[in-house]
Symmetry: C2
Subunit: 241 residues, 2 copies
Amino acid sequence: MQIQTCFSPSQYPLFHAEDSIVVVTDILRATSAMAAALDFGVEKIIPVASVAEAIEYKNKGYIVAAERDGKIVDGFNLGNSPFDYMDETLKNKTIVISTTNGTKAISAAQKAYKVVIGAFINIDVVANYLAAEKRNVVILCAGWKNKFNLEDTLFAGALANQLINKNNFDTDCDSTFAAMHLHDIAKDNLFQFLEKSSHRNRLKNLNLEKDIAYCLTPNSCISLPILVGNEIVNFATKIIV
Amino acid sequence: MQIQTCFSPSQYPLFHAEDSIVVVTDILRATSAMAAALDFGVEKIIPVASVAEAIEYKNKGYIVAAERDGKIVDGFNLGNSPFDYMDETLKNKTIVISTTNGTKAISAAQKAYKVVIGAFINIDVVANYLAAEKRNVVILCAGWKNKFNLEDTLFAGALANQLINKNNFDTDCDSTFAAMHLHDIAKDNLFQFLEKSSHRNRLKNLNLEKDIAYCLTPNSCISLPILVGNEIVNFATKIIV
């Protein structure tokens, strides 16, 4: 089983293979928020790429989250902070989400064999699922407006290291090697390593230190969010139930 | 002066700015070969993106090099080994070159303020030129068929480290940070670090160890290849003369 890493949604067509599982990651903060939401009890998430689609859903009466450039879009009540979703009133509900990068990455990968939502907060659950599925894996980093970003790359490196060291995966992909090397030098203090990352500083300016600490802490969740049709549902819960 | 690093020619439009200098690099082997050729005395290089264009020039009587997937294209006499260009009969000649990745990257960047050809073999000359020009810099890695590759990224990291540590450049670009970190861990033995790189293995299979050793050795050349119109000429020679 081979691992490849794609640093930008716009590059995904170069990595697409019908029989590969794609792990989409947008650590700060879309996929972390989705994993947290399903873990907390949200029933389904409908990811949409554009604000226009988000507005359409809102007009139909859905609960809708929309974030651009780190901020909640005017007219919406939810953004992409994981803490927004730890709300009793959202349990068993369907939520529509549109974010700057994460939902675009999900949209880019939708024709893959499976699309799994990965984050540090559910990394072990995702790794165990991939190990059981025994298929080639593409880790798709949402990046920042189609550019490379460090936090998603560190997650790619962490996941690849885990799959290669524990689960007989392999890689001949330079971007995966790069991600693993970067994770090796960052892993003892991801927070400090990202001190210089442009996106982390962007979030710091928005006073999101608490979100960042949460998003960089592994395995606080046991959710396994997988895209089924146009909805993301929690397969971990279904296995446990 | 800000440094940005673009990991793929297809991503270049995200980085383009009219007043930036673009350093195009394709370490194994196009830009190394170009720097070597001009250093050896080739007068001009005309980079062309497609084999079709290369054939047109050949039919017009030009000396034409064409490489795809590491091999010389059938019907041509020159590929992209730097040693191909260390030939007395090529001195003061114009050579047309088309390669898998490097010439496509040059073509992508052609509307930049300046396009400079960078490689480990002329890294100090390029860094000194950039320091004197005092403009924002985009390091454009040719990659491999629009995917990220390690050897071009290591060059980007080496150049960025040099410009930031010695010449008051700065960066807020995650891909530049990543490249600098990777160069930091690889710099003591680039050859060994690249042992696992897919492209390096591809070249190894073609018995190009001698080329690789040459391309990874810094500062064997003093050429400063810059694109002027559709031709690459050696500005270092002109300054010295």
